[in-house]
Amino acid sequence: MAGSRHPQDTETKPDRGARLSLQGVSRCFNGPAVLDGLDLEIASGEFLALLGPSGCGKSTLLRLIAGLDQPDAGTIERDDPEAALAYVFQDASLMPWRSVLGNVALPLELGGTSRGERDARVAALLDTVGLTDAAHRFPGELSGGMRMRVSLARALVTQPALLLLDEPFAALDEFTRQYLDEHLQQLWLERGMTVVFVTHSISEAVFLADRVIVMSPADGRLVRDFRVDLPRPRLAATRTGIDFTRQVQMLADTLREHSLHA
Protein backbone atom coordinates (compact mmCIF):
# COMPACT_ATOMS: atom_id res chain seq x y z
CA MET A 1 0.00 0.00 0.00
CA ALA A 2 2.28 2.71 -1.29
CA GLY A 3 1.48 6.34 -0.69
CA SER A 4 -0.33 8.10 -3.46
CA ARG A 5 1.37 10.99 -5.18
CA HIS A 6 -0.22 14.29 -6.02
CA PRO A 7 1.45 16.65 -8.52
CA GLN A 8 1.52 19.47 -5.99
CA ASP A 9 2.70 17.24 -3.14
CA THR A 10 5.93 18.83 -1.92
CA GLU A 11 6.64 15.76 0.19
CA THR A 12 8.02 13.96 -2.86
CA LYS A 13 11.10 16.16 -2.85
CA PRO A 14 13.80 14.10 -1.14
CA ASP A 15 14.76 15.41 2.32
CA ARG A 16 18.37 16.28 2.54
CA GLY A 17 20.03 13.43 4.36
CA ALA A 18 22.25 14.22 7.33
CA ARG A 19 25.90 13.24 7.33
CA LEU A 20 27.34 11.95 10.61
CA SER A 21 30.82 11.44 11.93
CA LEU A 22 31.40 9.49 15.14
CA GLN A 23 34.90 9.40 16.54
CA GLY A 24 36.20 7.60 19.58
CA VAL A 25 32.77 7.36 21.14
CA SER A 26 32.78 5.71 24.55
CA ARG A 27 29.97 5.14 27.01
CA CYS A 28 29.85 3.01 30.10
CA PHE A 29 27.18 2.42 32.73
CA ASN A 30 28.51 1.51 36.16
CA GLY A 31 31.13 -0.92 34.97
CA PRO A 32 32.43 -2.26 31.69
CA ALA A 33 32.15 0.10 28.73
CA VAL A 34 29.24 -0.60 26.45
CA LEU A 35 30.87 1.47 23.75
CA ASP A 36 34.60 1.86 23.70
CA GLY A 37 36.27 4.14 21.21
CA LEU A 38 33.79 3.55 18.41
CA ASP A 39 34.39 5.19 15.01
CA LEU A 40 31.71 5.41 12.36
CA GLU A 41 31.06 7.58 9.30
CA ILE A 42 27.53 7.76 7.92
CA ALA A 43 26.99 9.24 4.47
CA SER A 44 24.10 11.49 3.49
CA GLY A 45 20.97 9.52 2.57
CA GLU A 46 22.46 6.23 3.65
CA PHE A 47 20.29 3.49 5.17
CA LEU A 48 22.30 2.01 8.02
CA ALA A 49 21.33 -0.97 10.17
CA LEU A 50 22.80 -1.58 13.64
CA LEU A 51 22.67 -5.30 14.22
CA GLY A 52 23.52 -7.29 17.31
CA PRO A 53 22.19 -9.23 20.31
CA SER A 54 20.89 -7.65 23.53
CA GLY A 55 23.46 -5.70 25.44
CA CYS A 56 25.68 -4.94 22.47
CA GLY A 57 25.08 -1.22 22.82
CA LYS A 58 23.11 -0.59 19.64
CA SER A 59 20.29 1.20 21.43
CA THR A 60 22.81 3.15 23.49
CA LEU A 61 24.51 4.26 20.30
CA LEU A 62 21.20 5.32 18.79
CA ARG A 63 20.37 7.41 21.86
CA LEU A 64 23.77 9.07 21.69
CA ILE A 65 23.20 9.96 18.05
CA ALA A 66 19.79 11.34 18.97
CA GLY A 67 21.28 13.54 21.66
CA LEU A 68 19.26 11.83 24.38
CA ASP A 69 22.49 10.81 26.03
CA GLN A 70 26.03 12.18 26.13
CA PRO A 71 29.15 10.10 25.41
CA ASP A 72 31.75 9.78 28.16
CA ALA A 73 34.44 10.32 25.55
CA GLY A 74 34.63 11.03 21.84
CA THR A 75 32.56 13.18 19.52
CA ILE A 76 29.43 12.86 17.43
CA GLU A 77 29.17 15.46 14.69
CA ARG A 78 26.43 16.18 12.22
CA ASP A 79 26.87 18.26 9.14
CA ASP A 80 23.86 20.36 10.17
CA PRO A 81 23.10 20.16 13.88
CA GLU A 82 19.93 22.25 13.42
CA ALA A 83 18.34 19.94 10.85
CA ALA A 84 15.24 18.04 11.93
CA LEU A 85 15.73 14.69 13.58
CA ALA A 86 13.13 12.02 14.29
CA TYR A 87 13.03 8.95 16.52
CA VAL A 88 10.74 5.93 16.35
CA PHE A 89 10.48 3.71 19.44
CA GLN A 90 9.77 0.01 19.63
CA ASP A 91 6.49 0.74 21.26
CA ALA A 92 4.71 3.20 19.00
CA SER A 93 4.49 5.50 22.03
CA LEU A 94 1.46 7.43 20.99
CA MET A 95 -0.46 9.69 23.34
CA PRO A 96 -3.64 7.77 24.16
CA TRP A 97 -5.57 10.95 24.86
CA ARG A 98 -4.97 12.37 21.40
CA SER A 99 -6.42 11.23 18.10
CA VAL A 100 -4.25 9.96 15.28
CA LEU A 101 -4.37 13.47 13.89
CA GLY A 102 -3.29 14.97 17.18
CA ASN A 103 -0.43 12.53 17.57
CA VAL A 104 0.99 13.09 14.12
CA ALA A 105 0.71 16.85 14.57
CA LEU A 106 2.69 16.84 17.83
CA PRO A 107 6.19 17.55 16.44
CA LEU A 108 4.86 20.46 14.40
CA GLU A 109 3.02 21.79 17.45
CA LEU A 110 6.18 21.62 19.53
CA GLY A 111 8.06 23.37 16.77
CA GLY A 112 5.57 26.20 16.57
CA THR A 113 4.22 25.58 13.10
CA SER A 114 1.02 27.45 12.29
CA ARG A 115 -2.28 25.64 12.46
CA GLY A 116 -3.00 25.78 8.74
CA GLU A 117 0.40 24.47 7.69
CA ARG A 118 0.16 21.77 10.38
CA ASP A 119 -3.16 20.49 9.13
CA ALA A 120 -1.94 20.32 5.56
CA ARG A 121 1.24 18.42 6.36
CA VAL A 122 -0.49 16.02 8.70
CA ALA A 123 -3.16 15.26 6.12
CA ALA A 124 -0.53 14.62 3.48
CA LEU A 125 1.40 12.28 5.72
CA LEU A 126 -1.66 10.32 6.80
CA ASP A 127 -2.38 9.88 3.14
CA THR A 128 1.16 8.60 2.61
CA VAL A 129 0.87 5.92 5.27
CA GLY A 130 -2.69 5.14 4.24
CA LEU A 131 -4.42 6.18 7.45
CA THR A 132 -6.59 9.07 6.25
CA ASP A 133 -9.74 7.22 7.28
CA ALA A 134 -8.40 6.70 10.77
CA ALA A 135 -7.50 10.35 11.31
CA HIS A 136 -10.05 10.85 14.09
CA ARG A 137 -9.63 7.48 15.74
CA PHE A 138 -7.71 7.06 18.97
CA PRO A 139 -4.67 4.85 19.58
CA GLY A 140 -6.71 2.59 21.83
CA GLU A 141 -8.80 1.59 18.85
CA LEU A 142 -5.95 0.75 16.52
CA SER A 143 -4.04 -2.44 15.88
CA GLY A 144 -0.31 -2.64 16.55
CA GLY A 145 0.52 -2.24 12.91
CA MET A 146 -1.65 0.82 12.52
CA ARG A 147 -0.17 2.39 15.61
CA MET A 148 3.31 1.91 14.21
CA ARG A 149 2.25 3.58 10.96
CA VAL A 150 1.01 6.55 12.97
CA SER A 151 4.36 6.62 14.72
CA LEU A 152 6.13 6.66 11.35
CA ALA A 153 3.88 9.43 10.10
CA ARG A 154 4.66 11.42 13.22
CA ALA A 155 8.37 10.88 12.65
CA LEU A 156 8.22 12.08 9.07
CA VAL A 157 5.99 15.12 9.60
CA THR A 158 8.97 17.44 10.25
CA GLN A 159 10.76 16.28 7.12
CA PRO A 160 13.72 15.02 9.13
CA ALA A 161 17.19 14.82 7.70
CA LEU A 162 17.92 11.97 10.07
CA LEU A 163 15.49 9.19 10.99
CA LEU A 164 16.38 6.93 13.91
CA LEU A 165 14.42 3.77 14.62
CA ASP A 166 14.95 1.46 17.62
CA GLU A 167 13.62 -2.02 16.77
CA PRO A 168 10.34 -0.41 15.73
CA PHE A 169 8.67 -3.52 14.32
CA ALA A 170 9.94 -6.07 16.85
CA ALA A 171 6.66 -6.29 18.72
CA LEU A 172 4.61 -6.96 15.62
CA ASP A 173 3.78 -10.19 13.87
CA GLU A 174 5.85 -11.43 10.95
CA PHE A 175 3.46 -10.35 8.19
CA THR A 176 2.93 -6.86 9.54
CA ARG A 177 6.65 -6.57 10.08
CA GLN A 178 7.54 -7.44 6.53
CA TYR A 179 4.84 -5.16 5.21
CA LEU A 180 6.14 -2.26 7.29
CA ASP A 181 9.73 -2.98 6.20
CA GLU A 182 8.63 -2.56 2.61
CA HIS A 183 6.65 0.53 3.50
CA LEU A 184 9.63 2.09 5.26
CA GLN A 185 11.86 1.39 2.30
CA GLN A 186 9.35 3.13 0.07
CA LEU A 187 9.24 6.19 2.30
CA TRP A 188 13.03 6.35 2.35
CA LEU A 189 13.33 6.01 -1.40
CA GLU A 190 10.89 8.87 -1.84
CA ARG A 191 12.52 11.20 0.67
CA GLY A 192 16.21 10.43 0.83
CA MET A 193 16.82 11.10 4.57
CA THR A 194 19.59 9.29 6.40
CA VAL A 195 18.23 6.32 8.33
CA VAL A 196 19.81 4.49 11.27
CA PHE A 197 17.77 1.38 12.07
CA VAL A 198 18.46 -0.78 15.13
CA THR A 199 17.43 -4.42 14.90
CA HIS A 200 18.32 -7.88 16.09
CA SER A 201 16.80 -9.50 13.01
CA ILE A 202 19.45 -10.29 10.43
CA SER A 203 16.98 -10.71 7.58
CA GLU A 204 15.38 -7.37 8.36
CA ALA A 205 18.80 -5.69 8.36
CA VAL A 206 19.77 -7.20 5.02
CA PHE A 207 16.41 -6.39 3.48
CA LEU A 208 16.43 -2.74 4.47
CA ALA A 209 19.99 -1.49 4.72
CA ASP A 210 22.80 -0.27 2.50
CA ARG A 211 25.23 -1.06 5.28
CA VAL A 212 24.91 -3.36 8.26
CA ILE A 213 27.01 -2.53 11.31
CA VAL A 214 27.43 -5.60 13.48
CA MET A 215 27.94 -4.99 17.21
CA SER A 216 28.73 -7.32 20.07
CA PRO A 217 28.42 -7.12 23.85
CA ALA A 218 31.99 -8.29 24.23
CA ASP A 219 33.39 -5.51 22.06
CA GLY A 220 32.76 -1.80 22.47
CA ARG A 221 33.45 -1.11 18.81
CA LEU A 222 32.11 -2.26 15.45
CA VAL A 223 32.66 -5.92 14.88
CA ARG A 224 31.88 -5.75 11.17
CA ASP A 225 30.93 -3.10 8.65
CA PHE A 226 29.06 -5.00 5.94
CA ARG A 227 27.92 -3.58 2.63
CA VAL A 228 24.70 -5.18 1.44
CA ASP A 229 24.87 -6.11 -2.18
CA LEU A 230 21.28 -6.25 -3.44
CA PRO A 231 19.48 -4.14 -6.06
CA ARG A 232 16.91 -1.48 -5.07
CA PRO A 233 13.99 -1.45 -4.67
CA ARG A 234 14.06 -4.69 -2.73
CA LEU A 235 10.80 -6.58 -3.08
CA ALA A 236 9.09 -9.34 -1.18
CA ALA A 237 10.58 -11.80 -3.60
CA THR A 238 14.06 -10.59 -2.75
CA ARG A 239 13.83 -12.31 0.63
CA THR A 240 13.83 -15.73 -0.98
CA GLY A 241 16.70 -15.08 -3.40
CA ILE A 242 20.06 -16.81 -3.10
CA ASP A 243 22.01 -13.57 -2.75
CA PHE A 244 19.82 -12.57 0.14
CA THR A 245 20.20 -15.86 1.93
CA ARG A 246 23.95 -15.91 1.41
CA GLN A 247 24.43 -12.47 2.92
CA VAL A 248 22.17 -13.29 5.83
CA GLN A 249 24.33 -16.39 6.43
CA MET A 250 27.52 -14.37 6.40
CA LEU A 251 26.17 -12.05 9.03
CA ALA A 252 24.88 -14.94 11.06
CA ASP A 253 28.35 -16.42 11.09
CA THR A 254 29.82 -13.12 12.23
CA LEU A 255 27.33 -12.89 15.06
CA ARG A 256 27.93 -16.45 16.16
CA GLU A 257 31.67 -15.95 16.22
CA HIS A 258 31.39 -12.98 18.49
CA SER A 259 28.71 -14.32 20.76
CA LEU A 260 31.10 -17.07 21.93
CA HIS A 261 33.18 -14.38 23.51
CA ALA A 262 30.24 -12.68 25.25
Binding site: A66, L68, W97, L110, G140, S143, T158
Partner: protein, 260 residues
Protein backbone atom coordinates in the same frame (compact mmCIF):
# COMPACT_ATOMS: atom_id res chain seq x y z
CA UNK B 1 -24.67 4.54 28.75
CA UNK B 2 -26.20 1.08 28.64
CA UNK B 3 -28.21 -0.03 31.65
CA UNK B 4 -26.33 -2.64 33.69
CA UNK B 5 -27.18 -6.20 32.70
CA UNK B 6 -28.68 -8.64 35.21
CA UNK B 7 -25.35 -10.36 35.64
CA UNK B 8 -24.06 -7.06 37.02
CA UNK B 9 -26.79 -6.12 39.46
CA UNK B 10 -28.25 -9.48 40.38
CA UNK B 11 -25.43 -10.86 42.59
CA UNK B 12 -25.23 -7.84 44.92
CA UNK B 13 -29.01 -7.71 45.22
CA UNK B 14 -29.17 -11.39 46.06
CA UNK B 15 -26.44 -11.12 48.67
CA UNK B 16 -28.13 -8.09 50.20
CA UNK B 17 -31.46 -9.87 50.47
CA UNK B 18 -29.81 -12.99 51.86
CA UNK B 19 -27.81 -11.10 54.50
CA UNK B 20 -30.82 -9.02 55.55
CA UNK B 21 -33.02 -12.11 55.87
CA UNK B 22 -30.35 -13.91 57.85
CA UNK B 23 -29.87 -10.99 60.25
CA UNK B 24 -33.59 -10.59 60.75
CA UNK B 25 -34.05 -14.26 61.53
CA UNK B 26 -31.00 -14.61 63.73
CA UNK B 27 -31.73 -11.50 65.76
CA UNK B 28 -35.33 -12.59 66.24
CA UNK B 29 -34.30 -16.08 67.26
CA UNK B 30 -31.67 -15.03 69.76
CA UNK B 31 -33.91 -12.24 71.07
CA UNK B 32 -31.13 -9.67 71.05
CA UNK B 33 -32.59 -6.48 72.51
CA UNK B 34 -33.20 -3.67 70.08
CA UNK B 35 -31.06 -1.17 71.89
CA UNK B 36 -27.99 -3.32 71.34
CA UNK B 37 -28.61 -4.35 67.75
CA UNK B 38 -31.81 -3.39 65.94
CA UNK B 39 -33.34 -5.81 63.48
CA UNK B 40 -33.32 -4.86 59.80
CA UNK B 41 -37.09 -4.52 59.95
CA UNK B 42 -36.77 -2.00 62.79
CA UNK B 43 -34.13 -0.06 60.88
CA UNK B 44 -36.35 -0.05 57.80
CA UNK B 45 -39.22 1.15 59.95
CA UNK B 46 -37.15 4.02 61.31
CA UNK B 47 -35.95 4.84 57.80
CA UNK B 48 -39.48 5.10 56.49
CA UNK B 49 -40.83 6.95 59.52
CA UNK B 50 -38.04 9.53 59.47
CA UNK B 51 -37.51 9.31 55.73
CA UNK B 52 -38.08 12.92 54.84
CA UNK B 53 -35.96 14.22 57.69
CA UNK B 54 -33.07 11.85 56.95
CA UNK B 55 -33.24 12.58 53.24
CA UNK B 56 -33.05 16.31 53.81
CA UNK B 57 -30.13 15.80 56.22
CA UNK B 58 -28.33 13.58 53.71
CA UNK B 59 -28.79 16.21 51.03
CA UNK B 60 -27.24 18.84 53.26
CA UNK B 61 -24.23 16.63 53.93
CA UNK B 62 -24.01 15.85 50.22
CA UNK B 63 -23.61 19.55 49.46
CA UNK B 64 -20.83 20.16 51.94
CA UNK B 65 -19.07 16.94 51.04
CA UNK B 66 -19.24 17.83 47.33
CA UNK B 67 -17.78 21.24 47.98
CA UNK B 68 -14.98 19.70 50.01
CA UNK B 69 -14.32 17.10 47.29
CA UNK B 70 -14.25 19.77 44.60
CA UNK B 71 -11.75 21.77 46.63
CA UNK B 72 -9.65 18.64 47.04
CA UNK B 73 -9.73 17.95 43.32
CA UNK B 74 -8.70 21.46 42.35
CA UNK B 75 -6.24 22.27 45.12
CA UNK B 76 -4.93 18.73 45.31
CA UNK B 77 -4.35 18.63 41.57
CA UNK B 78 -2.58 21.97 41.71
CA UNK B 79 -0.44 20.87 44.62
CA UNK B 80 0.57 17.73 42.69
CA UNK B 81 1.60 19.84 39.69
CA UNK B 82 3.73 22.08 41.90
CA UNK B 83 5.32 19.10 43.60
CA UNK B 84 6.23 17.41 40.31
CA UNK B 85 8.36 20.33 39.19
CA UNK B 86 11.50 19.56 41.14
CA UNK B 87 12.76 16.98 43.66
CA UNK B 88 13.71 19.75 46.07
CA UNK B 89 10.17 21.03 46.12
CA UNK B 90 8.95 17.50 46.76
CA UNK B 91 11.40 16.93 49.59
CA UNK B 92 10.52 20.25 51.14
CA UNK B 93 6.74 20.09 50.94
CA UNK B 94 5.55 16.53 50.45
CA UNK B 95 5.74 15.75 54.21
CA UNK B 96 3.08 18.41 54.76
CA UNK B 97 0.86 16.67 52.27
CA UNK B 98 1.32 13.43 54.19
CA UNK B 99 0.24 15.36 57.28
CA UNK B 100 -3.23 15.67 55.77
CA UNK B 101 -3.36 11.92 55.61
CA UNK B 102 -2.20 11.13 59.09
CA UNK B 103 -3.72 13.85 61.24
CA UNK B 104 -6.74 12.52 63.11
CA UNK B 105 -9.61 14.66 61.91
CA UNK B 106 -11.43 14.21 65.20
CA UNK B 107 -8.58 16.00 66.94
CA UNK B 108 -8.35 19.00 64.64
CA UNK B 109 -12.06 19.47 64.02
CA UNK B 110 -12.31 21.81 67.03
CA UNK B 111 -9.47 23.85 65.50
CA UNK B 112 -11.47 24.16 62.31
CA UNK B 113 -14.25 25.73 64.35
CA UNK B 114 -11.82 28.30 65.67
CA UNK B 115 -10.48 29.12 62.19
CA UNK B 116 -13.69 28.94 60.15
CA UNK B 117 -16.35 29.45 62.79
CA UNK B 118 -19.40 27.22 63.12
CA UNK B 119 -21.21 26.36 59.95
CA UNK B 120 -20.75 24.91 56.45
CA UNK B 121 -17.26 26.36 55.93
CA UNK B 122 -15.77 24.33 58.77
CA UNK B 123 -17.62 21.22 57.58
CA UNK B 124 -16.30 21.69 54.03
CA UNK B 125 -12.82 22.23 55.43
CA UNK B 126 -13.09 18.95 57.29
CA UNK B 127 -14.22 17.17 54.13
CA UNK B 128 -11.31 18.74 52.26
CA UNK B 129 -8.66 17.80 54.80
CA UNK B 130 -9.74 14.17 54.91
CA UNK B 131 -9.99 13.74 51.14
CA UNK B 132 -7.15 15.76 49.65
CA UNK B 133 -4.18 13.49 50.19
CA UNK B 134 -5.17 10.59 47.89
CA UNK B 135 -5.60 13.11 45.11
CA UNK B 136 -2.20 14.66 45.69
CA UNK B 137 -0.44 11.32 46.01
CA UNK B 138 -2.03 9.64 43.02
CA UNK B 139 -1.87 12.65 40.71
CA UNK B 140 1.77 13.23 41.60
CA UNK B 141 2.53 9.61 40.81
CA UNK B 142 0.82 10.01 37.45
CA UNK B 143 2.69 13.21 36.66
CA UNK B 144 6.04 11.64 37.46
CA UNK B 145 5.41 8.41 35.59
CA UNK B 146 4.96 9.82 32.10
CA UNK B 147 5.94 7.38 29.36
CA UNK B 148 9.76 7.63 29.17
CA UNK B 149 9.64 7.22 25.39
CA UNK B 150 7.28 10.18 25.09
CA UNK B 151 9.52 12.16 27.41
CA UNK B 152 12.43 11.39 25.10
CA UNK B 153 10.30 12.45 22.16
CA UNK B 154 9.62 15.80 23.78
CA UNK B 155 13.33 16.25 24.38
CA UNK B 156 14.14 15.42 20.77
CA UNK B 157 11.76 18.09 19.60
CA UNK B 158 13.34 20.49 22.10
CA UNK B 159 10.13 21.08 24.07
CA UNK B 160 10.60 23.19 27.18
CA UNK B 161 9.78 22.17 30.75
CA UNK B 162 6.45 23.96 30.76
CA UNK B 163 5.40 22.52 27.42
CA UNK B 164 6.25 19.03 28.57
CA UNK B 165 4.23 19.64 31.73
CA UNK B 166 1.20 20.96 29.89
CA UNK B 167 1.14 18.69 26.86
CA UNK B 168 2.52 15.45 28.23
CA UNK B 169 2.57 15.10 32.00
CA UNK B 170 -0.75 16.66 32.88
CA UNK B 171 -2.90 14.91 30.25
CA UNK B 172 -1.01 11.68 30.98
CA UNK B 173 -1.80 11.89 34.67
CA UNK B 174 -5.54 11.77 34.14
CA UNK B 175 -6.03 8.07 34.99
CA UNK B 176 -4.10 8.43 38.25
CA UNK B 177 -5.93 11.62 39.13
CA UNK B 178 -9.23 9.79 38.67
CA UNK B 179 -8.01 6.95 40.87
CA UNK B 180 -7.25 9.47 43.58
CA UNK B 181 -10.63 11.10 43.10
CA UNK B 182 -12.35 7.76 43.47
CA UNK B 183 -10.66 7.17 46.82
CA UNK B 184 -11.27 10.74 47.92
CA UNK B 185 -14.99 10.66 47.19
CA UNK B 186 -15.94 8.38 50.07
CA UNK B 187 -13.49 10.13 52.38
CA UNK B 188 -15.09 13.50 51.68
CA UNK B 189 -18.39 12.17 53.00
CA UNK B 190 -16.71 10.89 56.15
CA UNK B 191 -14.91 14.20 56.60
CA UNK B 192 -18.14 16.15 56.25
CA UNK B 193 -19.87 13.97 58.82
CA UNK B 194 -17.07 14.30 61.35
CA UNK B 195 -17.05 18.03 60.75
CA UNK B 196 -20.76 18.14 61.44
CA UNK B 197 -20.29 16.59 64.87
CA UNK B 198 -18.37 19.66 65.88
CA UNK B 199 -19.38 22.50 63.60
CA UNK B 200 -22.83 21.95 62.16
CA UNK B 201 -25.37 24.72 62.67
CA UNK B 202 -28.89 23.45 62.71
CA UNK B 203 -30.62 26.34 61.00
CA UNK B 204 -31.79 24.10 58.21
CA UNK B 205 -32.02 21.05 60.36
CA UNK B 206 -28.46 19.76 60.27
CA UNK B 207 -26.68 17.15 58.22
CA UNK B 208 -26.71 13.38 58.52
CA UNK B 209 -23.86 13.49 61.05
CA UNK B 210 -25.98 15.62 63.33
CA UNK B 211 -28.88 13.22 62.81
CA UNK B 212 -26.68 10.36 63.99
CA UNK B 213 -25.57 12.36 67.02
CA UNK B 214 -29.12 13.21 68.00
CA UNK B 215 -30.36 9.68 67.53
CA UNK B 216 -27.58 8.42 69.80
CA UNK B 217 -28.50 10.94 72.46
CA UNK B 218 -32.15 9.97 72.21
CA UNK B 219 -31.19 6.29 72.50
CA UNK B 220 -32.99 5.54 69.22
CA UNK B 221 -30.66 2.78 68.10
CA UNK B 222 -32.86 1.90 65.14
CA UNK B 223 -32.71 5.49 63.94
CA UNK B 224 -28.95 5.56 64.49
CA UNK B 225 -28.60 2.61 62.12
CA UNK B 226 -31.01 4.19 59.65
CA UNK B 227 -28.99 7.41 59.62
CA UNK B 228 -25.73 5.50 59.32
CA UNK B 229 -27.23 3.58 56.42
CA UNK B 230 -28.07 6.84 54.67
CA UNK B 231 -24.54 8.07 55.24
CA UNK B 232 -23.12 4.88 53.76
CA UNK B 233 -25.41 5.16 50.75
CA UNK B 234 -24.26 8.73 50.25
CA UNK B 235 -20.66 7.58 50.21
CA UNK B 236 -21.55 4.87 47.71
CA UNK B 237 -23.34 7.39 45.53
CA UNK B 238 -20.31 9.66 45.44
CA UNK B 239 -18.13 6.72 44.54
CA UNK B 240 -20.49 5.63 41.77
CA UNK B 241 -20.65 9.15 40.32
CA UNK B 242 -16.88 9.41 40.21
CA UNK B 243 -16.78 6.02 38.51
CA UNK B 244 -19.15 7.21 35.81
CA UNK B 245 -17.11 10.37 35.37
CA UNK B 246 -13.96 8.28 35.17
CA UNK B 247 -15.36 5.95 32.53
CA UNK B 248 -16.57 8.85 30.42
CA UNK B 249 -13.31 10.77 30.63
CA UNK B 250 -11.20 7.71 29.91
CA UNK B 251 -13.37 6.45 27.09
CA UNK B 252 -10.90 7.46 24.42
CA UNK B 253 -8.05 5.77 26.17
CA UNK B 254 -9.86 2.46 26.18
CA UNK B 255 -9.05 -0.28 23.71
CA UNK B 256 -11.87 -0.68 21.27
CA UNK B 257 -12.40 -3.45 18.73
CA UNK B 258 -9.43 -4.05 16.46
CA UNK B 259 -10.23 -2.90 12.98
CA UNK B 260 -7.52 -4.57 10.94
Amino acid sequence: MKAPTPEVWLPPVISLVAITAFLEGWLALTAVPGYLMPRPSAVMGALIASGQELLRATLQTALTASAGLLASAVLGGLAAVLLCIHPWIRRAFYPYAVFFQTVPIVAIAPMLVIWFGFGPKAVMASAFIVSVFPIIANTLSGLLSADPALRDLFRIYRAGRLTTLLKLQIPGALPQFLTGLRIASGLAVIGAIVGEFVADTWENGGGIGTAVMIAIKEQRTDKVFAAVLMAALLGLLFFALVNVLSRTAMRRWRLGELSE
